[in-house]
Subunit: 144 residues, 2 copies
DNA sequence: GAATTAAAAGACTTTTTTGTCTTTTAATAA
DNA sequence: TTATTAAAAGACAAAAAAGTCTTTTAATTC
């Protein structure tokens, strides 16, 4: 469904939301440990998200990654688009370039509702909401 | 959603259903042309599907790939499982190994209905049905 | 302002996926 | 039974995705 890169990105965003809700910042090492990902790899991903304004960061001592209140309202759709592009929102399920409502591939109609549901879900789900459930221990980002 | 390999596989299965409905067989070259795919690549994919009994084939002159009536009832789920495994049916949306109803990832609940819809759709959609729509020119496998 | 800390940048490697080519095997037709 | 046809098998190559490492830049603290 998502690329590995995108999975890490979503997990990292939720973790950062959680760790920075008191106004502090999280370092890349803690993020990597917290979401069980390769340190340098998630660093690269977050740099890209930073460039696109999806996550905030600050260098130097007491520096790290963080999300402000508006960042906590970021939808999953925003993250997925930034990382994987919008294939999942609009690409053809059978990989045809010419696929459209007027010139549909054999799976076009079967996909319409699924695609709509995925899009709705990604748009309405916000990083902050997921972080709150995590805080209540209703969901988990890793084993423990 | 699907791997490129799986996209080609589905397209090829529909094309084979169409071309072999009169009891004849289609050669790999015609398949490659008919679905706009690399010839040797789709050959390899169909060999694997042949090994798994998802498609029938015969060597020699008048040989080629074909589907009998029961093959025409093959669901997309069967093809997808044979090619991509069952990640799409049961894997965690965030790539967590430990994800389950009892120990859900942050997206687990959000994914349940989507996954169910995808599974239903893949189970109920049969190659033969898609081929019939194609015959009626209601859908397309390529440009023309 | 010098030392320290932590992210940014970017080169590099490994693995997986996708795609290509050649040889072998099996069926049919003459 | 020999020639021909077409799939099966498998080695190989290219491209993309995933992951690693080193150097540079920008903050903070002393």
């Amino acid at each position: 469904m998502f690329s590995k890169t995108c999975e890490y990105a979503i997990r990292a965003m939720i973790f950062i939301a959680q760790q920075s809700k008191d106004g502090s910042r999280v370092g890349i090492k803690d993020i990597a440990k917290g979401i069980d990902s390769p340190e340098h790899f998630i660093a690269k991903i977050l740099q890209e998200l930073g460039r696109k304004g999806v996550v905030q960061s600050l260098k130097g001592p007491t520096g790290g990654f963080y999300l402000d209140n508006s960042g906590r309202k970021t939808s999953l759709a925003t993250i997925v688009k930034a990382v994987d592009g919008d294939d999942i929102f609009s690409g053809c399920g059978l990989g045809l370039k010419q696929c459209s409502d007027k010139h549909p591939c054999p799976l076009h109609h079967e996909f319409i509702n699924i695609r709509k549901d995925i899009t709705n879900m990604l748009n309405k789900t916000k990083v902050g909401d997921l972080q709150e459930e995590l805080d209540k221990k209703l969901t988990f980002l890793r084993r423990d």
